[in-house]
């Protein structure tokens, strides 16, 4: 058993390492360090921060007022004055894309974060809780999913009036069942496993089992799902805005840029390209980020231990 012997200095260092590893700041710093080491993670981080920073500092970066009209210069292709051309009312598309990012990120990030949180909680409860709770939560999920999103949105808008928060509300309510179902199925599979039985045998409390043992095992898949949902949410926002249920003109959003461009596709393709580009960058960025984070959170996929 020579492999079992080692010097005491090493072991003290190992034990100190365990104590250090458990602080929140250390986990964050450690995650960041691992993220930038992965090519995919670094790429995701760069793409996401580009989008986030340009949206945050839109008022500084944007060369024009996003709602200022210039009818004489309508539907122009990209030029040195208008980097991404102009739309049917002569507004500068580049400035509109920058400002549109604010709405897009506000809607997409907040609604997905909320849907993820609620979906996770309800899914864990349904998967690990008593049978009646599972049935109740699933029935609720099915009821929500049985409404077409647009019809559901129309009903909500009639009650609350069109606004950004209405869009967020609609997206959150219709996405919770998607996350919830994924979490529930995984939780049920985990609940059968011996390590959960072992925790129960030790008298571990339900919150402890759910949040310390189940959660880390289901979060990876959810991150991927959530990153791939971002473009879907942005298109839902665009669709609702198109129906006049969401963002009201002339406030720019990526959705409304694409929609406007669609009406004038015979005249120029540039508005659609300009509106679609940030959508692609955002989706790629968050997918890369989500995938890298999943690998980092899963010790089996983490190669450098």
């Amino acid at each position: 058993m020579s492999e079992l012997t080692q010097t005491s200095e090493q072991s003290i260092a190992a034990v100190a390492q365990v104590a250090k590893d458990n602080t929140v700041t250390h986990v964050l710093v450690d995650t960041f360090r691992r993220l930038i080491k992965k090519p995919l993670g670094l790429m995701g981080l760069i793409l996401v921060s580009t989008i986030v920073l340009s949206a945050l500092f839109a008022s500084v970066i944007a060369p024009y007022d996003p709602i200022a009209l210039d009818i004489l210069n309508r539907l122009k292709p990209p030029s040195s004055e208008h980097w991404l051309g102009t739309d049917q009312l002569g507004r500068d598309t580049f400035s509109r894309v920058l400002y549109g990012g604010q709405i897009a990120l506000q809607v997409a990030l907040s609604s997905i974060a909320l849907a993820l949180g609620f979906g996770l909680l309800l899914g864990l409860l349904a998967g690990f809780g008593p049978r009646w709770l599972d049935n109740l939560i699933l029935t609720l999920f099915d009821m929500v999913r049985s409404f077409p999103t647009i019809i559901f949105a129309l009903a909500v808008v009639t009650l609350t009036g069109p606004s950004v928060s209405t869009i967020i509300l609609v997206v959150v309510i219709t996405s919770i069942p998607i996350y919830g179902r994924v979490v529930r199925t995984q939780t049920q599979a985990l609940a059968q496993q011996e390590f959960i039985l072992a925790e129960r045998a030790m008298n571990a409390s339900m919150p402890r089992i759910l949040f310390r043992h189940m959660l880390p095992n289901v979060i990876g898949q959810l991150l991927i799902l959530a990153s791939m949902d971002i473009p879907i949410v942005i298109t839902i926002e665009a669709g609702l805005s198109f129906l006049g249920l969401g963002i009201q003109p002339p406030t720019p959003s990526w959705g409304s840029i694409i929609n406007d461009g669609y009406s004038f596709i015979r005249n120029t393709p540039w508005p659609i390209i300009a509106g679609g580009l940030p959508l692609i960058i955002t989706t790629l960025g968050f997918t890369f980020l989500g995938e890298s984070l999943r690998d980092i959170f899963d010790p089996k996929l983490r190669k450098d231990v």
């Binding site: 058993m1 190992a14 034990v15 365990v18 011996e194 571990a204």
Partner: protein, 588 residues
């Protein structure tokens, strides 16, 4: 190597004893390494093994010794990160390692057939046996009814009753033993030249093990194929194989005719391996020899740990002798197999599976009781009832004088501080996203017990069970079975329980690690006066470690008493049958 025809008189080679042995497989200087982060790990180091035509060769070794790597290299089924460093593996003069995947496809299932460890998962669950058995005959130019008839004949040969009726059934409708028979039938239908069996009896009960081995031996002689039989069970290899290859850390340390290897082992590792086999130790002993020692070393309870603080207290408070630590009275457990409404409609008055039918037992502090039975006997169900993991239907469980089943959930939870369970699968019973340090100290946190720091406590516990301290930072999937078992012991002992329920504590371990784990439990039992309830089907270890033994069959206790008495003079016919099924450790 000269041929020794000990008992395979049917094989072609045996008819010409003067001829030199013809090898079907000749592995020369085979080295395989695995690519890991920051370098390579050797899986096989210059392995030279020959498989004589028509003979059975057994490969033994502990987990990680390279025996699986060897057979998966032969069949090109290696893990993606495996790299063949050097060497060749000739089958009938052609190098298997040089074959393209397409050529390999021609060979596998035709000239080379395989039987895997777990019959439950090696068949596709969504297709019927008929579909799977006719499908593998795709190479033959036969009509469907002819293929079906061949499948029926094969099933008849391996002893599946009513094959015509059973053929359209699905894998989950068969028992484990029957499934392994079906796998054997499928493997042998093509009349392969070489059969590779990877631990084919490990997932089966002892009595089934004997039947499967007899079947394999019969069929091998009938077809005249060669066989590579991989196992960590020395008894099985001794009974079945003509030749034995002993592997250790990727090296072949010894090979030769089985009788010679078993009776006159040359290499120190083989000698120790044989000495460690509890089945070969005639006199019952609580201290089993291990690879590194004779089992006499003393493990120190680390000072300053929570365990140490309990050590003095427990020794000054002897148990009240009039009262048993654990007293189970007429425990009955049943599981519904039909909903109440469905049962009412179909008129089924007893829609339950009676898993435990009135079990009574007692256990005192410092005592070891073994519950022995085959899978499905209800032994694990009893253990889980003590821990409150299922709802007994009737009966009483007294622990330290208190009745557990009528307790409120909260009070019941508190009793769990004094009862710990070691689960059957050491790795999957550890939460996969947590570090070992957190896992082994978790019981202390859950029960709110005093300890100075998690890191310190983890260090002491790891030291006690003989694991290096940097394991504190590892995750469960980075451990071997034996290491995970030690973590399981540390975790069970952390809270200083009065009773440890150990479900198959030696499952999947090779003999020397078995001895280490059992010695560890035994010594801590002596130091801390812990009662141990061992649930197992491994009779060889029960004979050594248990004070009393209880034999269960189909939810009933058929016999109980002092272990030595039961082994020397079994009363019940089932016990006799069980003891007879225990594979004899020496070659015939």
């Amino acid at each position: 190597m000269t041929i020794q025809t000990t008992h395979s008189s049917n094989s072609p080679a045996a008819q010409q004893p003067a001829m030199p042995v013809e090898n079907i497989i000749a592995i020369k200087d085979l080295s395989v390494k695995f690519e890991v982060a920051g370098g390579f790990v050797f899986g096989l180091k210059n392995v030279n093994v020959s498989v004589p035509r028509g003979q059975i060769i057994g490969i033994v070794g502990e987990s990680g010794s390279g025996k699986s790597t060897l057979i998966y290299t032969l069949t090109q089924l290696m893990a993606e990160n495996a790299v063949i460093d050097s060497g060749s593996a000739d089958m009938d003069g052609e190098d298997l390692l040089a074959k393209t995947p397409r050529q390999m496809q021609q060979l596998l299932g035709q000239d080379i057939a395989m039987i895997f460890q777990d019959p439950m998962t090696s068949l596709n669950p969504v297709f019927s046996i008929e579909k799977q058995m006719t499908d593998i005959q795709y190479r033959l130019n036969l009509s469907y009814s002819e293929k079906k008839q061949r499948a029926i004949d094969a099933l008849t040969r391996v002893g599946i009753p009513n094959p015509e009726l059973r053929l359209p059934r699905f894998p989950h409708e068969f028992s484990g033993g029957q499934l392994q028979r079906i796998c054997i039938a499928m493997a042998l239908m093509a009349k392969p030249k070489l059969l590779i069996a990877d631990e084919p009896t490990t997932a089966l009960d002892a009595s089934l093990e004997v039947q499967i081995i007899d079947l394999l031996k019969e069929l091998q002689a009938e077809i005249g194929c060669s066989m590579i039989f991989v196992s960590h069970h020395l008894g099985v290899v001794g009974t079945l194989c003509d030749y034995t290859v002993v592997m250790y850390h990727g090296d072949v340390v010894e090979q030769g005719p089985t009788v010679d290897v078993f009776n006159n082992p040359q290499h120190a590792y083989t000698q120790r391996l044989l000495a460690c086999d509890p089945a070969r130790i005639k006199e019952p002993t609580k201290r089993l020899p291990t690879m590194s020692s004779e089992g006499t070393e003393h493990i120190a309870i680390p000072s300053g740990s929570y365990l140490a603080s309990q050590l003095t207290e427990q020794n000054t408070h002897p148990e009240n002798s009039a009262e048993h630590l654990l007293d189970i009275d007429e425990l009955r457990i049943r599981f519904p197999i039909q909903s109440k409404l469905a049962a009412l409609i179909s008129g089924n008055k007893d829609p339950y599976l009676h898993a435990v039918k009135g079990v009574s037992l007692t256990l005192d502090a410092g005592e070891t009781l073994a519950i022995v039975g085959e899978s499905g006997s209800g032994k694990t169900t009893v253990a889980q009832a003590i821990l409150g993991l299922n709802q007994p239907w009737s009966g009483k469980i007294h622990f330290q004088g208190k009745e557990l089943l009528s307790m409120e959930a909260k009070a019941r939870g508190k009793t769990r501080r004094d009862i710990a369970m070691m689960f059957q699968d050491p790795i999957s019973s550890l939460s996969p996203r947590m570090k070992i340090a957190d896992l082994i100290t978790e019981p202390l946190v859950i029960h709110g017990l005093p300890f100075d720091s998690r890191a310190q406590e983890a260090k002491r516990l790891l030291g006690m069970v003989g694991l290096p301290l940097d394991f504190a930072n590892r995750y469960p999937h980075q451990l071997s079975g034996g290491q995970a078992r030690r973590v399981g012991v540390a975790r069970a002992l952390a809270q200083s329980p009065k009773l440890i329920v150990a479900d198959e504590p030696t499952a999947g371990l090779d003999v020397s690690v078995q001895g280490e784990i059992l010695n560890l439990l035994n010594q801590l039992q002596e130091d801390l006066n812990i009662a141990i309830l061992i649930i197992t089907h491994n009779l060889n270890i029960v004979r050594h470690v248990a004070d009393r033994t209880l034999i269960m069959n189909m939810g009933d206790i058929v016999e109980q008493g002092e272990t030595q008495g039961i082994f020397a003079n079994p009363q019940h016919s089932y016990t006799k049958q069980l003891l007879a099924a225990n594979v004899h450790p020496d070659p015939v």
